[in-house]
């Protein structure tokens, strides 16, 4: 961001010079030229950084790019993408966690990626349960229960009306 202060500063200097000198004497032209060089340097610095961000993004796989927001806040994004493939669209989903209350990051990201499925706080009214970091058995779902699909220990989904 500091790079961008240079072209901004150059614009101010050029603006002031233009306002004050209608005909631009030689000194003003020299100052304007020097300032333009500064502006070019600052602008190109920002361009280079943006292009390197782009190159980083291009190197990622499609799934990594899609899940970047969740990964940045520590969500187990591979599980969420898997759940997305398992749970049919337009069903309602309740997300359960190990501790009482919500893991906000995981909850919001799961709700985001599972859309158009809707989330609900009331697990008894949901079509599907998502177990995020909690063993289904601890919530009364046995591994042999019909409709239970396990991604990894503590990470599973279950169809409630199986």
């Amino acid at each position: 961001v500091a790079w961008l202060l240079l072209p901004q500063f150059a614009v101010l200097v050029l603006g002031a010079a233009a306002a004050a000198n209608r005909r631009w004497p030689r000194r003003a032209v020299a100052a304007a030229s020097a300032t333009l060089v500064v502006a070019v340097a600052g602008s190109l610095g920002a361009d280079v950084r943006l292009l390197s961000h782009r190159a980083e993004s291009v190197r990622l796989t499609s799934e990594q790019r899609t899940s970047r927001g969740g990964a940045a806040i520590g969500v187990r994004v591979a599980f969420v993408e898997w759940a997305r493939r398992v749970i049919p669209p337009r069903k309602s989903v309740a997300v359960l966690f190990r501790l009482p209350g919500r893991n906000e990051a995981a909850y919001q990201w799961t709700a985001y990626r599972l859309f158009p499925r809707s989330v609900t706080d009331d697990a008894t009214r949901a079509d599907w349960i998502v177990f995020y970091g909690v063993e289904p058995a601890s919530r009364g779902y046995f591994t042999a229960a019909p409709g239970l699909r396990v991604f990894a220990p503590g990470f599973a989904v279950a169809r409630r009306h199986a």
């Binding site: 961008l4 631009w24 943006l50 919001q108």
Partner: protein, 474 residues
């Protein structure tokens, strides 16, 4: 190809709708050159009006589907064009004309900087359209709401009233999600990388709008300097790419404030007042934060007018305020009827005892916001402060300078007040929001630079003219 077409089609329709509106108001002239010069302002005006209408329809349960979107654009655009037939429109080519009139030195310097800025904007577009929205509120609030609105025929009450979705701030107004939903529908997919292009288009539209509005009163260097300062502002590099609503809100707010200030100084231009009210309503329909600033700006304008005993002007201003209220009412009524509340304890926030109890939050808030202003705006706010002081000292556009100064103080004060009354911890507020909420002040600074820069330019030009006339005819 479908994604590119999905970005171009709504943009063209919104621009045409806005162009009709501008012609109807007498702001833009006829002909392709005028249309090109006014296209940035037209895109933002079209977006504002069409999304305000679409938002009102949404509260009645009518989704802004693509056919309906096209119809609304058509009605706004054709309605404006029909009105324009009754008007005598000047051949205004806006900023394009001032470029041709400028001396060669100006043109070379300005062209060099504009090429740099254009290259930077292209690189920005290339970089951000590779990245799906990944900043928290970008996906959790704004893109999510856009996806919801694009997926249902109407306003799906469940998502906007159920406690399970309270985290997405259900009370926030819907202009930006509605705009995103139109682009999602047109693209046929929820491509949140491509949606960054919409934020880019809004910024480019704003830069064009600034140039168009400023060119009416200033030479090329003044509007070009202002436009370039915006393009190279740090918030473009950072905040714009987060896909949060703060920058779009600021764009509408900045234009609204600029046009409102221009009306207070040239009240015969009632079209400025009309357009200002459109943009101010759009700002308050983009983020709740804008509402106190919009109200503050309108109150300051009325005080400026009343103080000079120009009471006849209070009537058009009252009509404009009524228009803003009508534009904002549908969403406020809908949230009221459905029991949707925001996080801020607004009732307690006006209670002196509560305010006194939380007064210890003020110093840290003020300091945090002051530190964020240059991080987001770079030299914008310092430049605006210098211009305001110079205007107050010299008497050039003093009325406008007072308007901008007071409005900026109101904007800053409203942010401090919201931090003060919030139930959230101050540390969390500052770390998550301080960098964004100062953008209102930054955009008021941009408006001040555009206006006061133009005024000083005219002043310098008239002094130079007087000087040369004295030399020729002593």
């Amino acid at each position: 190809v479908k994604i590119v077409a999905g970005l171009i089609l709504p943009t063209v329709l919104l621009t045409l709708a806005g162009l009709g509106l501008l012609q109807g108001l007498g702001v833009a002239g006829r002909g392709p050159r005028s249309a090109l010069a006014a296209s940035g302002l037209a895109y933002l005006a079209g977006t504002s009006v069409v999304m305000l209408v679409g938002g009102a329809l949404l509260t009645l349960g009518i989704a802004l589907t693509l056919p309906l979107f096209a119809v609304v654009c058509g009605v706004v655009g054709i309605g404006g064009a029909v009105l324009a037939r009754r008007r005598v429109l000047g051949p205004s080519a806006g900023w394009l004309a001032t470029v041709r009139r400028a001396p060669l030195g100006y043109r070379i310097a300005t062209a060099s900087l504009l090429v740099l800025a254009a290259a930077y904007l292209v690189v920005w577009l290339l970089a951000f359209t590779e990245m799906p929205v990944h900043d928290w509120d970008g996906w959790s609030i704004w893109a999510r709401k856009g996806m919801i609105l694009a997926s249902f025929d109407g306003l799906p009450t469940r998502f906007f009233t159920d406690g399970a979705y309270r985290f997405m701030h259900q009370d926030y107004p819907l202009l930006l999600p509605l705009l995103e939903s139109v682009y999602f529908r047109a693209m046929g997919t929820f491509d949140t990388a491509a949606i960054n292009a919409v934020f880019w288009l809004l910024l480019v539209g704003f830069v064009g709008a600034l140039a168009f509005v400023s060119a009416a009163v200033s030479r090329v260097w003044a509007w070009a300097a202002c436009a370039l300062l915006v393009v190279f502002a740090p918030f473009v590099y950072g905040a714009l790419g987060t896909a949060y609503a703060d920058v779009p809100m600021g764009l509408f707010l900045g234009l609204g404030v600029l046009l409102l200030a221009r009306w207070t100084t040239s009240p015969s231009r009632s079209r400025d007042l009309a357009l200002a009210c459109v943009f101010l309503a759009a700002a308050a329909s983009t983020k709740n934060d804008a509402l106190p600033v919009v109200l503050g700006a309108l109150v300051v304008a009325s005080v400026v007018v009343a103080r000079e005993r120009r009471f006849a002007l209070l009537r058009p201003l009252a009509v404009g305020v009524a228009g803003v209220v009508v534009a904002l009412a549908p969403w406020r009524i809908w949230t009221g009827v459905n029991g949707v509340h925001g996080d801020l304890p607004l009732g307690r926030g006006l209670h002196p005892g509560y305010l006194l109890e939380r007064a210890d939050r003020i110093p840290a808030t003020v300091w945090a916001l002051i530190k964020e202003i240059p991080r987001q705006g770079g030299w914008l706010v310092p430049a605006a402060v210098v211009l305001v002081i110079a205007a107050l000292a010299s008497g050039v556009a003093r009325r406008a300078a007072v308007f901008y100064a007071v409005t900026a103080v109101v904007a800053f004060g409203s942010v401090v007040w919201s931090f003060m009354i919030s139930r959230a911890s101050l540390h969390w507020q500052i770390s998550t929001a301080a960098s964004r909420v100062v953008l209102g002040v930054v955009f008021i600074a941009i408006a001040a630079i555009a206006h006061l820069g133009g005024a000083f330019d005219s002043w310098f030009a008239s002094r130079a003219f007087a000087h040369s006339a004295t030399e020729e005819h002593p």
